[in-house]
Symmetry: C3
Subunit: 132 residues, 3 copies
């Protein structure tokens, strides 16, 4: 069972909380136990699981990523978005979660974030649910 | 089939080898071929696969992570554990392995490590095994 | 359904595009809908998904990784390849993709890369396909 979420980003780099959308898709699927893959089909974006209670966590993640992987550097890729490609590889293009009792197993503070590294853009996230 | 491991950590940052526990759960499940997801439901911890023969590998991983993502910095998150959140995003909250002939496929030097980035604490690791 | 790809690397660090090999294995499997796990059973290598149109992207990824995780440092692991172990943990030992209509769902610019961090060597990549 495969679904797609559309995400519109507003900044060059941005973490967008998509937890409630993923959760709704899981609940609507009617799957009681299984797994859920959240897959980003872009090479300058990613997906991560982290705290969604305090928005400063998102800001701090982006600050360190921007420092470790500068926007401008001795890059050879001519499109000017090498930093976004490198962040995508380090954060990763998918996350896998467990479905139990018809809902995602998430820790108390965990949320799912789409990671924009070369925005603003219109993006897609592909979600596959598999019954156990 | 879902199981939980309890992990007690002793240090602020620490890699705990959980390979034998995961392996036992896989063997006890009776699944001959399938997959195994090791999922960490915490936002200041992670899971990784790396060498478990020489313990200095763990130490070297933590050294570089602590340098790239300092404990103290211009963070906005007020709880003082931003570094742990960022490490969690970079290392990742899950690992997926293959089950074949009733056991995990692991390379000769590979082990599974719970990564504590904001300890010491009592932690949980959730493990889902799915038959092929 | 489990298959293995052999990869020969020529440099100390190198990204090898294995997209067409993974895709062929998926097509040959006859699975119409399901998922595909690409797993690297090595502790000094990894797998990532990124752009395979312009080869400078690979070069830029390796440049930043080499700077953030130097080959020589205050490492305790005596084999001289600590940097490779750390890169392996940050990039990750597996990638999961979705199979639909008998083929991988990949974004327009996405390819799958074996990441050599301690070459040159002969390596293996294990691929598991699971029907939905």
């Amino acid at each position: 069972m495969i679904s797609t979420i559309e995400v519109s980003t507003n900044d060059r780099t941005e973490l967008v909380d998509i937890t409630s959308q993923v959760r709704k898709i899981v609940k609507d699927s009617g799957i009681d136990e299984g797994s859920c893959l959240v897959y980003v089909p872009h090479t300058t974006a990613a997906v991560t699981i982290n705290e969604n209670a305090d928005p400063t966590v998102k800001r701090d993640i982006l600050m360190i990523l921007d420092r470790v992987i500068p926007f401008s550097d001795d890059y050879h890729h001519a499109e000017g978005n090498s930093a976004a490609h490198i962040k995508s590889t380090l954060v990763g293009s998918s996350e896998r979660m467990i479905i139990r009792d018809g809902d995602l197993i998430l820790g108390r503070w965990q949320g799912v974030f789409f990671c924009e590294f070369d925005g603003p853009r219109s993006r897609k996230v592909t979600i596959q649910m598999t019954p156990a």
